[in-house]
Symmetry: D2
Subunit: 392 residues, 4 copies
């Protein structure tokens, strides 16, 4: 076995917890060419990050992510912080010769994303690898979807229909958290949810979005400040309210290469939809449908069976022959959300060990950013807007 | 076109309404060898039957079913009354040379059913036809199920799993209607619901039940008399209650021919299940699943596709190539419960015109009765009980 | 009971058959204030229409629809022909003092639709009624949806998500039938399918579409002429091909009144979707979802139950307390596509008898036409396009 | 924090891998009163167990489970071997003062199970804890089911309907593995699958099975020996076949306390059912349905909502307020099979730390064994058979 891959992680909230579960697990499930070691986690507050390190299983901790750059015992920096910090950390890490895994969306702006992609390209020359964390690619059913489309099971692709529906801010009294502030999050549903379905549909179809017509909406325009909402503020009234500066919902029509037409929708106001990432692809020979809330299943319709027996087949994607699954449990014994991160860790470690570029690259992620940018501009100008090609 | 087939119907409640809808419709949807004419309906009360005739579309009416026997303009007698009257009417009708369609269950006892089957056999010699109305055979998805099993799509049958679940008497204040009285209904869930799944599973598998182990239960043993429940009674208290004399639920294990094992359950106490006729057949090569609450669908699992694409296929049974459907609407435009009776009418008219025996025959229905009888005896004796073979 | 309502129908293909089934049935299921009589059907070819009259149950037939205008024994003219003929027939019928039921879409152009709406308004003064046949309003689950939204069960509406997916022309060898020719059909998926979801979503939400951004696509641009495809043509090659002059698919984003955002898609290229009319409405308090392929069901999510018990409730819309259903079968005994036309007939007869305007009126249908027109113009100009308000 | 809980595990195949994943994870997800340490794993073959220890994350290993008994640094022995070894190991471990977690079924015979339960009772006096691993109790949806029934949401329980369907031996060429040999596995589908649904339904309803009527079947009576099937054998023919000595399927009717009637079925021959543990409980006020293949969902029907809105609610059991879930991911982000073991580990550690008895106890597991024994005897004698009460 080769040298261990020693990881340092920046950020330890929701994404940090999910990544930690993956790093803790991947060694024990897959035969990796390099064992993973969880060396250090960084955060802004000493006491909090110390507790997080203990809880999440990191050997060490620091309150300054910059210290990771100079540590000899860190090979890979895993960035799990909000989008406004990605560019600075990733570029510095790559410059320091560290491999980088960066959570999506790659950045809060195209300009930042472009710099990151350029940095990744530069670092690549010296064998340094960079990858963006679009974890839903690693749902076995999604990987199977890509495989079946690549094999021609759908024929000529006609339609893409993708929604990512959540409902966690449907209540107007839900506070103004960082994800609702443009300066930290970049955008709202668009970057948080829309980015996933843009990447996922381009990934499974192998086609890129070329132009879009979009609308965005902010249904609840002012919300209680988090302090106010948690009762820490003494005074009442609108003084304790703040402006929501991101979109609650983003909808867009799109054209993809080779004549494909598409509809996308990302929203946090679809009451009852908890993590409703739903994708349908229609081709001349068949259809595939995926819904994350039933992530172990893939629906497949094929015209390639006798007419009286055609229908949507609910494939339970838990067989050893399905992507990623030989290492897990017997058929019918489901896996969950966190497994997508374990699979992602597996693919990244494999690529690094093999001296290959992991996917999606920072350039791939920049391209997604360019789509989001076209969507935002289209919504602003109320005009069909071309997606700018990737250029570094 | 041959002579019209002139129908007289006995009874005009729920089943009578369903049969009437079928007789009104069948001419207009299918090209029948003989047009159907709705001549006369009989009932006990002149005023009521007159109103029913007008509403349901019968040319005439009578308050004495015996008059149907002597009318020259009645070719077929359709019996839609409760089970305690079937034997007398059917035997008299057959003796009078009328074709007979008799609602299921054929009779309230094996003795009666045996007499009816013997009468049908005797009448057959002079070209008189008799059929029992197990309408669920005529759900297109069920007919398709039978066809696929006959073609070997399931391989060797291993398991039958059938339930018929309803909930309309789950409330203890629901009154003691005729279906809850043994002297009229013969039995409760067993004859009303169990008869359907016995017939349906034997029909689709082509195998007969040979022995059973059963239990029956009456959860609510006394109920308000209908008069009391509708407020017609002046006094309160238990005097207005009556004994429920039939089973609320009947469950049994069974063995069918060729090594098939089976489980059956019929109940009126499955809260939330409105018409939950659910059947699953497992074979060595595949599985078929039908649920009446989604009667336009059939689930099919086949081991005969690549392993990674296996799953339950939801066949929307609405294609022209599916049984009965070429005459109806385009694919995806559903049909309903009443269509099973129209299909039944179609099959019966076709058989009569062709001089063939319609199925299920009275002997087939007697065999179902023998199964129900074995179930009832098994429940009483708490012993495995063989199903008596059909003998007239 | 008042005088009978005597119907003359124009056209007897798919829609004519569906309407006939309704006219044959409605008397026998509902207590109508006026009995319906099926007097006469018209068509272009004597022999064909004679056969159709016999099969579908009409007393008479004619090969000239104009004769219906002067017959004293026709009270209502039911128009079931392609869209290019609607205006002429409807306007003449109204002028002749006949009530009119006209299939959707009301017309092939806004200009025609406007004339029809004006004619209806003029005729109304003399008690003549006009209605457009958006039958999906009469699915009990859809009627229930409207009722629940009107009662405030969803709170403030946020999102409308509507697709109408079919797949019957996915095969490029499918012939160039009239529905694929602009001069007869007006448009393709847009008018055929899109009209339904525009009407349905406006109906259930009580809000109108105000502006749209659209794209349309024709995936297969040339198809075999019907003659060629049926082998009647002697020569081969492209000479036997013709241009498809309508859209195969139409997608649009929309804004409705009161801040609702929406996404619509109509296509005939969604492989595996047979009659996939799917609508989801998200509100601040709940969500409703309807899918025609399971037309007896309505999904309802309510925030108004304990948090741990929230979820999508599959309401089986077959209870007597549900719209239209008291007249049909017991709970759980499904109805089908054709019942929507019976319900439509019921509502129309009731309105006429009560001297009230049936809904949707021709003005309502004109408004749908204006939406379709805005969609078509938006697709052409690639610009957000306002829906013109109804003006006669 | 108290002293760590140091674990030694016996066996490292499927169950060992699942338990290891739980032990590795539980510390990092839940705030435990005692940290878990994975000290040692034992197996029969030195090389294999060494590899397993490395892969699964155990600090040490041994080829003799008896060494665990005398190690001071082992507090808990986790038994993951086949059923024929449980009694010896568990009794010795308890005698050595070690806490014990023993996989289900507790033993291969009632006699063994009784000895184990007696040993557990004896050890309890000195604060030693014993628990049997019925992991499905720890599916959040199942725990919620129990909670809702205990709160009276179903009213009086009427029906239990439970199946556990798999299909992994449906192919007759599948080899004669240890699970198909009575001397190792004790029984077939009955103990492997039936044990789970017996425990689960008794757990959620709070009622015990009192009598049963059963049938068992072995569809494929001879199979290739594993050696033969893997090609290690030089000769062909029946010499390489062996007898299947366990049941392929076990079906039984049952009565539970307080008038509940029930149907159970466990089979390995339900083609297409991969891990089809399906349970439905009907009560006078509502119904609950669970299906493991959609383990993050629970279906709930309640009569306690307006009649027109009643239906089966698909509760997505992923909310923080649901059992076990506050520690995991946001709503809609599913968990999988392995999480049941993590929850089990959590509950066991909590109980040990609190000085309380974990559930299910060995006595509870003995009671399940007594049910299985009654089933086996009923199948043999073809008679209703009472379940013997627990006595030590």
């Amino acid at each position: 076995m080769s040298q261990p891959l020693r990881v340092g992680m920046v950020g330890y909230a929701f994404m940090g917890a999910a990544h930690s579960q993956a790093w803790r697990t991947v060694n024990h499930v897959y035969d990796l060419p390099a064992p993973v070691e969880m060396r250090v986690v960084s955060g802004r507050t000493e006491a909090s990050v110390a507790a997080a390190a203990a809880r999440l299983g990191w050997s060490g901790h620091t309150d300054d992510w910059r210290t990771l750059l100079t540590r000899d015992d860190v090979d890979l920096i895993d960035i799990c912080t909000p989008g406004d910090t990605h560019a600075e950390i990733a570029i510095a890490a790559l410059a320091a010769g560290k491999h980088v895994l960066c959570e999506k969306p790659l950045a809060n702006s195209v300009a930042e994303a472009r710099k990151m992609a350029a940095a990744a390209l530069a670092a690549r020359a010296s064998g340094v690898r960079a990858m963006c964390g679009f974890n839903y690619r690693r749902v076995p059913a999604v990987a199977l979807m890509r495989q079946m489309i690549a094999e021609g099971r759908l024929g000529a692709i006609r339609h893409v229909r993708a929604t990512y529906l959540q409902d966690w801010i449907v209540d107007p009294s839900f506070p103004l958290v960082w994800r609702l502030r443009r300066e930290v999050a970049g955008s709202g549903a668009l970057g948080d949810l829309g980015a996933h379905i843009v990447d996922l549909t381009q990934y499974v179809t192998g086609r890129l979005i070329t132009e879009v017509s979009a609308l965005t909406e902010t249904f609840v325009k002012r919300r209680p400040l988090p302090a106010a909402s948690t009762g820490l503020s003494a005074t009442g009234g609108d003084a304790e309210m703040g402006d929501v500066t991101v979109d609650d919902a983003a909808l867009f029509l799109a054209r993809l290469g080779e004549g494909v037409v598409a509809s996308y929708e990302a929203t946090r106001f679809a009451t009852g939809r908890k993590n409703g990432l739903h994708v349908e692809i229609n081709g001349s020979l068949g259809t595939l449908v995926f819904d994350f809330e039933r992530m172990n299943e893939l629906q497949f319709y094929s015209r390639d069976v006798p007419e009286t027996e055609q229908g949507f087949t609910r494939i339970l994607v838990t067989e050893p022959a399905h992507p990623y699954l030989a290492a897990w449990w017997p058929p019918g014994h489901l896996i969950g959300y966190e497994h997508t991160f374990t699979h992602q860790a597996h693919d990244l470690v494999q690529a690094i060990a093999a001296g290959q570029d992991p996917a999606p690259s920072f350039s791939d992620a920049l391209q997604v950013q360019l789509v989001l940018d076209a969507v935002a501009r289209s919504a602003e100008t109320s005009a069909w807007t071309a997606v700018e090609p990737v250029s570094l």
